[in-house]
């Protein structure tokens, strides 16, 4: 039973990584591509760490896998935001909304 759970978790983690890679390669703009980086660091890392914990329990390996997952979970979105900010500054000369520009994604 444990090995089936581990295999399923591994399949999910690797599938998300492959799909995210395809998304990065197929999208057209840098900001669209950035959206596909985060699922690898948020979903794949956590699912793979869960697989390690299921197999090894909370021993040294399990704790280190959790440490890697937590590191990627917090630092990945941070890095994505910093990259988006840099791309915005490079394209528009500043981070703030320009005159006449509307905020998208909120109503």
């Amino acid at each position: 039973m444990t090995s089936v759970v581990v295999d399923v978790l591994l399949a999910v983690g690797v599938s998300v990584a492959v799909a995210a890679t395809a998304g990065v390669l197929l999208m057209r703009s840098s900001l669209d591509r950035l959206h596909y980086v985060t699922p690898v660091s948020v979903v794949s890392a956590v699912v793979v760490a869960a697989g390690v914990v299921v197999k090894e329990s909370f021993d040294a390996r399990g704790l280190k896998a959790i440490l890697v997952a937590v590191t990627l979970l917090f630092l990945g979105p941070l890095l994505t935001q910093a990259t988006a900010r840099a791309a915005r500054v490079e394209q528009h000369g500043g981070w703030r909304l320009e005159a006449g520009e509307k905020r998208r994604g909120r109503r």
């Binding site: 591994l10 990065v24 596909y36 980086v37 794949s44 280190k64 890095l79």
Partner: protein
């Protein structure tokens, strides 16, 4: 080959197109490729550590996760300020 090594092989295989992608295109597309390659590399190290049954490889994954974050962040800040 166990399931961990098979998964690691798939993740390492995805690094190849990402590496090619990082050599082409506009500047920020390359940064996105570098960012994705860092995360995929960390994931591959975790999978290889479990697949080869070696504790010490997990330490490598932890160090790689933190160091690649710092390196990519420095690179991004450099691009934002000076290029």
């Amino acid at each position: 080959m166990n399931a961990w090594l098979a998964a690691a092989a798939v993740v390492v295989a995805t690094l190849l197109p990402v590496g090619i992608f990082s050599f082409r295109g506009p500047m920020f597309d390359r940064v996105v490729g570098l960012e994705l390659a860092s995360v995929l590399g960390t994931l591959a190290l975790v999978l290889l550590a479990e697949g080869f049954d070696r504790d010490i490889y997990f330490d490598l994954a932890v160090v790689f996760a933190v160091a690649s974050f710092a390196g990519t962040l420095a690179f991004v800040r450099f691009l934002e300020r000076w290029l």
